[in-house]
Symmetry: D3
Subunit: 118 residues, 6 copies
């Protein structure tokens, strides 16, 4: 899945760059939507994130592109890579600003892990 | 451009459905990102929206898909159609919930209209 | 109905002016309150907006005045004009920055249109 | 000044009523707009609130009416009463839910108190 | 209780300092958490605030420290002092920026006052 | 550092539990405040998070306690453990709901890593 978000003043830290907490919130949301679309009808919950790396600060006005891809699929869990690229005002090329891997587990109505469809 | 957003409790009206004002905010943001990616380096401003139609109420937990397409291109303006489809929890097909057409104008540093690149 | 809102940094785009999406959100909210006060006890839903025009960018710190007036009343629908005027820091007169017409329909408990009281 | 605000799920506490902190935020904003409109061109800052009383909890979907009136005017300060009335879904009359008095001081560019215009 | 909050651009007024309404919202939230932790299992509601004083404007990037202390305990109510100190970027000492006293009442399921545990 | 946050409806996902993205945002904010207080006058930026584990879903109305502790200190970086405990309405004991380790680097005015004070 490819998804886009616009960075505005409400998302900044006091240095004038994207507040890291907002990046993490968006990553969780985007990865969750990708997983839910891959497994329709399943309730997916975030159980972990690994290898989080903030590699570049992000300017006000940047258009962020979240590239989410399924990496692994287990019995009840699935892992997605998330790469975030920033297209900043006045720039001619995107730069990678963040990456991580997010793992989701399918849960049943009591919140217990259950098998993903084949 | 295709773009996705998740409807959560913070986006609802007191009847428990998506508050229409949030839909309009997201439409403006998504159309603006599409226009800015089509015309890199240009400052685009929203000048109008036409034919706004809310055709179906939207549930909590729906994944919204914004389908944005360029319809017309003038000397300094460009018009985009925006169709929004909702994938609701437990549903098997998406339904169309909203549509409109948004027009942007390119402006220079004084805020005056100027020509778009060919 | 006359209603006022204050523009703060959380409402701006990255150019430092009011983000258009927030204007649309506020317009929907203000028109809805006017319609609900005109038809107490009725559930009103936004079905359309026409002739949206952003005529002037809005500064940080502006006090916006939303002037909402009923224009037409049908069997189950009512249409309101919304004019937004901005009183900007240091200015001596208000300027018109936005206008539109919003149409609401009264719905019953199943979400179907029903007659407005006379 | 009379001003209206709509209570939505994003404004509630976990009991399902308006979170008191949001009421206080709105009161400050509304009183500040009234004071700024009374003294155009002056920078007004909140210096105090007295006699804050939450007299009734507020339901989801209520339309709040903020009634703000100038009570006293000193050399560099002005005091406003704020009464908040709630029109709740299904109700036939408004009820008073909150009141307070807010005092503002005019400050110059260094942030020091200075005289209000006559 | 001691509690910390970070001031970011989304919290500012158009002069670039903390918007007073946000301070009031945070004070209510922090005092409520202190009261709820002191009286576990009790539903506490804010009934009043006294002696609110904003004594210093607060910069973007400040770390605010909310110092909340129980001052009085009645049959069904308890009063807390709240002092807020700001640690601003580049500063070497904290300064006091705000203080007030907040009173809570314990209510039962019908919303009526009831006795606090000894 | 110990810090507290209240979970309200605006923070929930559509299942009625805390939206994971908000937890991540708060963790980043709390760890950053701890690091900034340990190294006054230094600009600290988040460079990574490891071993993120969501171990329990969080109810509406929970008071979250963020326990942040410095674990390692290198030449230009410092690593903090963050444990989050939830005190839910009606519960008699806190439960651990989340943990991670966050690493910060001190940067100079050009955004390049530089030595932390001893």
């Amino acid at each position: 899945m490819e998804n886009f978000t616009l960075v505005r003043p409400e998302h900044l830290n006091h240095h004038g760059y994207l507040f890291g907490g907002n990046m993490l919130k968006w990553v969780d949301e985007n990865a969750w939507m990708a997983a839910t679309r891959d497994f329709p009808g399943c309730t997916m919950v975030t159980v972990g994130m690994d290898d989080i790396r903030f590699s570049h600060r992000v300017d006000n006005g940047a258009i962020l592109r979240f590239h989410v891809e399924q990496q692994e699929k287990g019995r009840s869990s699935a892992t997605y890579s998330v790469n975030v690229l920033a297209d900043e005002p006045g720039a001619t090329t995107e730069i990678e600003v963040f990456k991580t891997r997010v793992t989701f587990v399918r849960v049943d109505e009591e919140g217990k892990p259950c098998s993903l469809p084949r």
